[in-house]
Amino acid sequence: MKKLIVAPAPHAHSGDSVRRNMLLVILALLPAYVVSVIEFGWGALITACISILACVCTEYVISRYILKEKRQTIGDLSAVLTGLLLAFNLPSNLDWWIVLIGAIVAIGVGKMTFGGLGQNPFNPALVGRVFLLISFPAQMTTWPVANGFATRYLDAETGATPLYYLKHMVKAGDASVIDQLPSLMDSFLGVMGGSLGEVCALALILGGIFLICMRVITWHIPVAILATVACFAACTGWAGAPPEGMGTCQYVGYELLTGGLMLGAFFMATDYVTSPMSGWGKIIFGIGIGFIVMVIRTWGNYPEGMSFAILIMNACVPLLNKIRPQRFGEPKKA
């Protein structure tokens, strides 16, 4: 008889793979992307293509020629996902070379310097985004207006985001811009200015629920973030933060539906590599993000703080991983 194969148990596998998880996240992002293409037109297509291509090429070049790895990892689709997420976080009318720089920083600095997939402490797409935000503040905060499929790319009509107006009203006490705000329903459906993929809360929520149902992510992080933001906004709302002419409920609605919150809560903060392992760790991680983002939005200089909030909490992950999961037979934690 021929030689038998010997290996330790178990001899069965769920069939799950890194590639499958990445593919499902990409699928879950597609509805939001379709909305973006409808709203921002060519800009959405070009930005995403450049970003994805640049991310994949950067990973391949570094892995092949600098790290001299024998096995290439671009097939696991994680670089594609990073590229797509980076594009989601950029204005759709950004110059192509800025997108390129963002992608190179995201993969090169954010991921490969640490040893590739699984080793990076910070979300690579956000590393790329924040690098661009600090280096090109003007270009990064000029968003095209959502006005149906735009055929123009670079010279698109631009305008500020709802959060910018909100901040302006709150900080400067200028209630006149209240007319500039989209209705809550428009914010929910995504008819407003903003980064490429963040505008349509509905599509992002659907994608997020799909990921939870497919057991790609768990509910802990998104629920913790959204609940914290809602509570925070409600509290400051009662304390008089929202401008005249806006009720507390409406204010909470805007905080939840505009900016990068939904994208961040379902797709950025839940990045496997840079989020905690245990259930309680994830909940505290989410609360931290929700809290920081609201502090930045309410008192900080930037109208939006989701990227910073996630990156700051990414840095806390090793500490949060000290929180043990509930052991079998151990008395329940208080």
């Binding site: 008889m1 038998l4 194969i5 010997v6 290996a7 330790p8 148990a9 178990p10 001899h11 069965a12 596998h13 769920s14 799950d16 793979s17 890194v18 499958r20 998880n21 096995r71 990892t73 696991d76 994680s78 040893g115 590739g116 997939l117 699984g118 080793q119 768990t218 496997y272 590599v273 840079t274 989020s275 905690p276 392992m277 245990s278 994830k282 991983n321 043990r324 999961p325 509930q326 052991r327 079998f328 037979g329 151990e330």
Partner: protein, 448 residues
């Protein structure tokens, strides 16, 4: 429907190949090979020598300590030799070789199929009979059954939990045993209840065996204090701690035995053996084995006398399939891949033989850990497998101990679920063994 609370996975159960196949008797071998270690604990000590004539049921080897078990002869014939023997995984040991002559049984063994319902024996006498018959847990661990029935002083059993879960994919021997010998199992449960002095017994069966649930329910209805509990399909529900959690919602603390929460767990096959030993004077000399796999031509459940070379059982099932890559003793989650099958006999430990095609036998290449936490979600003991495996790699045994590596039950859920195909247990297993050795050394030093 109830189940355990933490972790667990859903492997495809693949029981369709051998499910509902009637138990077939495997013919007697020409020579039987009886290993002296077929249980957890000290090896049994041979009480026969070369040239001795033995009958079926005669004592061949005596328990070699408190945690050990007798071995009775499964065949009649002449002891050829007692010599070195290596198991299918390469571990050396001793075995008794018997040249089989006829099939002559000890006269006190009742070989009729008649049911004997009445048991008038005192608890002590029942336990002695179980010990004499060499009964061990046939669910896989092979812990001597009589030891479980003698709780340490100060501990009292409240409930007998009967393991009819059979959560390992592919295996169907317990299922078929319940279908064919349900009445004997019910009588066995009453005997064990008496031995333990408990009023209540719960039979846990997973809901992928609706016919067994219905059948056992029908039989249990006429009995006092036996309840059938359908459980939601989930691996590793057959694990002792998980089963207790599922059935009576009590959690055995870390490092403790089930008796700590008043439970004693026994497998249905073990209980069938108890019935045979107590009511029919038949020691544990055979068991039902599942021989299965996608390409096995006659998969089924076979009643095999211990000592029968497994090649003969495999021949009954149609031989080794051509594209076999792995032959596994037991199921795919916790069974061990055999290095060879020549000279390997059926024994108390071997619940089944699984033939995996070559394509399913090679483990995919490992990728980087993506820190998804799926192993943490899957671990039924609430451990952190990704961390334990890393600590083991780094030989950080103090840290391993602090992170409760000793609670690992080796179920394989973490490896099963890992999307990066990390071989977490390859590190955790030796790490746990090392920490265990350190703990024993420490305990020995503390005694001095």
């Amino acid at each position: 429907m109830r189940t355990f609370k933490i972790g667990g996975v859903h492997p495809h159960d693949n029981k369709q190949f051998s499910a509902h196949q009637a138990i077939k008797e495997c013919p007697l071998p020409k020579q039987a090979i009886i290993p002296l270690v077929q249980h957890i604990g000290a090896p049994a000590q041979a009480v026969v020598k070369a040239g001795d004539k033995v009958k079926v049921g005669e004592l061949l080897a005596q328990a070699g300590g408190f945690v050990s078990a007798n071995i009775c002869s499964p065949v009649s014939g002449t002891v050829a030799k007692i010599g070195d023997w290596t198991d299918a995984w390469g571990a050396p040991g001793q075995a008794i070789y018997i040249d089989v002559e006829g099939d002559e049984w000890l006269p006190e063994i009742d070989r009729t199929p008649d049911l004997i319902r009445q048991c008038t024996l005192e608890p002590k006498a029942i336990i002695d009979k179980i010990a004499a018959a060499g009964i061990v847990g046939l669910g896989g661990a092979c812990f001597p059954t009589h030891v479980k029935l003698l709780p340490p002083p100060g501990k009292k059993a409240e409930v007998l939990i009967v393991n009819g879960v059979e959560c390992e994919p592919y295996l169907t021997c317990d299922h078929q045993l319940m279908m064919e010998h349900g009445e004997e199992i019910i009588i066995g449960i009453q005997i064990l209840k008496k031995a333990l002095g408990v009023e209540r017994a719960i039979i846990g069966i997973e809901n992928n065996k609706p016919d067994a649930i219905a059948h056992m329910r029908e039989l249990a209805e006429k009995q006092l204090g036996i309840e059938v509990m359908p459980l939601k399909l989930r691996y590793p529900q057959g694990g002792e701690k998980q089963l207790i959690d599922a059935c009576i919602n009590r959690q055995v603390p870390s490092g403790a035995l089930p008796i700590e929460v008043g439970a004693v767990v026994d497998n249905v096959a073990t209980i069938y053996a108890v019935y045979e030993a107590v009511q029919k004077n038949k020691p544990l000399i055979s068991r039902v084995m599942t021989v299965t796999g996608k390409n096995v031509s006659k998969p089924g459940n076979y009643s095999v006398r211990f000592g029968t070379p497994i090649e003969e059982v495999i021949a009954l099932a149609g031989g080794v399939p051509a594209d076999t890559g792995k032959i596994i003793g037991g199921g795919p989650m916790m069974g061990r891949a055999m290095d060879h099958i020549e000279g390997m006999p059926a024994n108390k430990r071997l619940s089944g033989l699984l033939f995996l095609p070559e394509a399913e036998s090679i483990r995919p290449e490992e990728e980087n850990c993506i820190r998804c936490g799926k192993c943490v979600q899957a671990c039924p003991m609430g451990l952190e497998p990704y961390l334990l495996s890393r600590l083991a790699e780094l030989e950080m045994y103090d840290e391993l101990e602090k992170h409760d590596v000793m609670d690992c039950i080796d179920c394989g859920c973490c490896v099963f679920t890992c999307p990066a195909h990390r071989r977490l247990l390859d590190g955790i297993r030796p790490g746990k063994a090392k920490v265990g050795a350190i703990l024993r050394e420490r305990a020995a030093a503390a005694k001095k």
